[in-house]
Subunit: 435 residues, 2 copies
């Protein structure tokens, strides 16, 4: 049954907006053939309608006022691509109240205000698509919500910030220090002028919040995510990791443990033979373990106009199909009746890598191991290399599994030792315990 086109309006004609428009225009025939009816890009709103985006738009599509998209009765799907948590939220809520379905790539907004948006969407019986908000072109939201629907999700490990992964790859492969690798990322357009969101793990935490909500049926809980970035990692940490057989990645971790969910973003040492350890550069990957499917991994570009546009258009198509079949929208987030709690970070168990900067190592080692012992922390390996009398040289310790609360107490005690040249730094370690 062929039907008329379903009309789409885009708000925000930046990188992702341009990619989305390009795909809708360039691949319109194949999309129409696969859907059974065409999509029509009816309006694009942006405050800048002058700049050349290198794309030939049909006349009259580009408008300056977002309200022209919201007030167009023919537009059934509104695509929000302006980003940020201010005006974007207002426009989305208005569109929802006008009965329009929403597609957005706005992870910051969903992670922090998504519960309200989903609730409003549910009341107005409209769909909210947000595949593009996590891991760019990788259809990870669809995989979790539909492909793995039969599974209790056990754990998710994601490399979902291309900027950080690019920087860590440069540091690993070219022995660059953090600030140089960051500059290189900025020069190539992989990092913004203010890189805080990317390098301090905030963007990763936004995306983890969304993934975990879908996987575990919990409300969006950004404020409960433990967040650490990569700016304190040194080339020597990376070399020591290699000696232990690990690679360092900025990981988003969501894990079901004893009826609670761990939500944490931090640099993580991973066994170097894990497939996810081999995901380098700006690429993203998400590892998902389910109780039925076992271990799975999804890999692709996490950003960019066309990859992210691919995810936006797949959401548009899903919603268009549902409009066409007159399906009644279900709630975007179905909370689990078993209501999992978010685990306090102090309760998390992990192995740990410690880098101490010690002035007088032999004495330090005995003091540190004493403090570790008194906090139930058992040492798996020690590396002490080089001997320069009077100078601070790194001392590196790998622990067996320990509880974060004990680790923090031990670090507090250790950092008061006068023989330490600087504050203790630690990186959590995932994988099988060393023997």
């Amino acid at each position: 049954m062929p039907r008329d086109a379903i009309n789409v309006g885009i708000i925000g004609f930046g990188t992702v907006g341009t990619g989305t428009a390009r795909i809708l225009l360039k691949n319109s025939d194949i999309i129409a053939q696969r859907l059974g009816f065409p999509l029509r890009l009816k309006k694009i709103a942006d405050i800048d309608i002058e700049r050349d985006r290198g794309i030939a738009l049909p006349k009259g599509i580009l408008v300056r006022d977002a309200m022209e998209v919201l007030n167009d009765p023919e537009i059934e799907i509104v695509v929000e691509l302006i980003g940020g948590t201010g005006i974007a939220k207002e426009l989305i809520l208005r569109a929802i109240k006008a009965g329009k379905h929403i597609v957005t790539a706005n992870k910051a907004l969903l992670a922090t205000e998504g519960n309200e948006i989903f609730l409003e969407a549910s009341k107005s019986k409209v769909y909210v698509g947000f595949e593009a908000s996590v891991a760019g072109g990788i259809p990870i939201i669809k995989v979790i919500k539909e492909g793995l629907i039969a599974n209790n999700i056990l754990s998710i490990y994601g490399i979902i910030n291309g900027t950080s992964n690019y920087i860590l790859t440069k540091m690993t492969d070219e022995d660059m220090d953090f600030s140089l690798a960051l500059k290189e990322a900025q020069r190539l357009g992989y990092a913004e002028a203010d890189p805080t969101f990317d390098i301090e793990g905030i963007d990763t935490a936004h995306k983890l919040t969304i993934l975990a909500s879908m996987a575990f049926g919990i409300p969006l809980s950004f404020d409960k995510v433990h967040i650490e970035g990569i700016s304190k990692i040194t080339p020597s940490d990376i070399r020591f990791a290699e000696e232990f057989g690990y690679k360092i990645k900025l990981l988003a971790i969501a894990k079901a443990v004893n009826g609670e969910v761990e939500l944490r973003v931090h640099p993580t040492m991973l066994p170097k033979d894990y497939l996810i350890s081999k995901v380098d550069g700006v690429f993203n990957a998400v590892f998902v373990k389910g109780d039925a499917v076992g271990e799975t991994l999804y890999y692709g570009r996490g950003a960019g106009d066309m990859p992210t546009g691919s995810a936006v258009v797949s959401d548009i198509c899903d919603i268009a199909r549902n409009i066409n079949s007159k399906a009644e929208p279900e709630a975007t987030l179905k909370e689990s009746p078993s209501a999992l709690n978010i685990r306090a970070m102090e309760d998390v168990e992990s192995m740990y890598y410690f880098r101490f900067s010690a002035l007088d190592r032999p004495g330090v080692l005995s003091k540190i191991s004493g403090i570790f012992g008194s906090h139930n922390i058992s040492i798996a390996s020690v590396i002490q290399k080089g001997r320069r009398v009077g100078e601070a040289v790194p001392l590196v310790i790998l622990t067996h599994k320990a509880v974060e609360r004990d680790i923090r107490a031990a670090v507090e005690e250790i950092d008061r030792l006068p023989v330490l040249a600087s504050k203790t730094y630690f990186i959590r370690v995932e994988g099988p315990e060393p023997e």
Copy 2:
């Protein structure tokens, strides 16, 4: 809006049937919560209703006669898990005519008789779900049909037969020869007593047929797939591949080239730093490149009761959702109006690795390179190692890109040379051309 349960019947209580039943029973709560209504496993038919599968079924579910499933008016979704192309086809067609939706893991049946089945399903307006037919638990059909719907698919490279990948991994990591690695696979239950379908590439070709049909909108074209297995690969091929920087994988390749689609299954040398080259053991992975999304990869277990059951249940859930929303089923396969042809294997371009077994190498090399030259085949590298007078020793040649037709003509000519101790063997090579 809660509704009554949707009833499911399974035909075939083997490995996958048991996994499917186990998931439907064990995870029924979370599935019901995600769907908004429950699924009910109403009947399982199998000729053997005595054997203990280690699963506690509600009373009266297990029946001996498949017709009890087909004739049950309450069962809306029939899951065919007996396999093979005989009775399975008959049961599916009957179920379709009775207006029941179908879920199947039967790749052999779909690859060879799927066009008829899809047509009948289309006429009867029922769904056919077959996520479990390719790559076990990896939701690759959903990814291609929905997640990447915005893309013209450019190429697919799949490791989609766990048995072959296990054997090749053993040969690579432990320097085992083929027959020993096969025996090990049989001992562990990864290979059947008659391993032909797995090791000769037929199972891989069945799955490729299905993937390519969904990706390129072409009818299922199993008889047009070029198929070679892995039984002729020797440990020395694997060592030479390593010297050239490659790994050998049994790949399913579907590639759009100049308006045609290549469909081929053969051992392939791949640059060892490609992510897919690192997929080892019984694991599967599918690399998909789209014009918008770029390079993506999907990884997981390709077989086993629970992983494959996970895919079966995801299909059941998709169909149940559509039943619930009263969506009218679309055609399972939407043929592309641009009607891509399958490329003749003779027209395929590739790089090639050759292993010659020569009695008198210096003379042979000049003869072979002469024959290559006369067929427009340009040599990239040569390895000749060891010198044992009078004995056949391998001579290995890597070519630049050449056309299969020329390669075959050259091999025919070379194999007539009297100094060759055995028939020439070649393996196609993917990746960037050597300089």
